[in-house]
Symmetry: C2
Subunit: 113 residues, 2 copies
Amino acid sequence: MATANRPCVGGGHVCGIDVSMEVIGGKWKVLILWALHEHPRRRFGELRRLVPGITEKVLASHLREMEADGIVDRVAYDEVPPRVEYGLTKDGMRLNVALEPLAAWGRERSQSA
Amino acid sequence: MATANRPCVGGGHVCGIDVSMEVIGGKWKVLILWALHEHPRRRFGELRRLVPGITEKVLASHLREMEADGIVDRVAYDEVPPRVEYGLTKDGMRLNVALEPLAAWGRERSQSA
DNA sequence: CTGTATCCTTGGGGATACTG
DNA sequence: CAGTATCCCCAAGGATACAG
C-alpha cells in the first residue's frame, strides 16, 4: 500500500490526510465510492454506467486498488454468465462518512458560485 | 476554474465531492492547507520548509491555483528584500475543517496498520 | 458479462538555472 | 527573498481489441 514519502507532521503529530489522499487519489475513486454508497452491491456493468466516462480498464484497476486498500469488497458468483458484485467494506463506509463534510463544502461552493 | 466534466449525480442531486477534489487535487495542496492551518500567515520560504520535498515552481503554481480558488490569500509587502505572506481565507479554513474527518480516518488507519 | 492485453497520449510535476 | 523560465520525464489514464 505504498507509504507516503511525505512526512506531513506538524507540532509533533502526523496529520493523516496524506494517507487518505493516497487511498482516494485515483481520478474516479470518490465517484465509485459515492456510487457504491447510493447503490450498494453493484455489478461491474452497473458501476460502469453509474460512473459515466470511465473505461473498463480504469474501472477494473481502480476497483482492484480499492479492494487492496480494504474499502471495497468483491464477491464473485460462480455462474454463467459471470456475475460479480462490489460493495463497501465497513472501512469504506466510514471513509464515505468522513468524506461527507468535504462533499458538503463542495456543494455549498457550487451553489454560491 | 474548470468545471468538472463528470456529472456525479445520484438520486437527482449532485454529490459535490468532485468539486472539492478538483480544489485539493494538486499533489501537495492538502499539505499546504495543513501547514497554513498549523502555522498561519507564512512566508514563501517558510512554506517551502514546512512542506519538505516540494520545489519552488510547484509551490508557486499550487499557491496561485489555491489563490484563484479562493482558499488562500496572498499579501505582498512592498519592501526590500521582498516579503510575502500566505494565509487561509475563510473558505480555506472551512475547507480545512471539512478535511478533518478525512484526516482522522487516515490517522486511525495508520495506527491500526 | 467481466474483465485483460496493448498501445499511445498527456500534463502534472521534478531539476535546474536564472532574475528583480 | 520570492519567485520565473526551461527542459524533461514518466506514470496515470484513454482507446481499442480480444478472451474466458
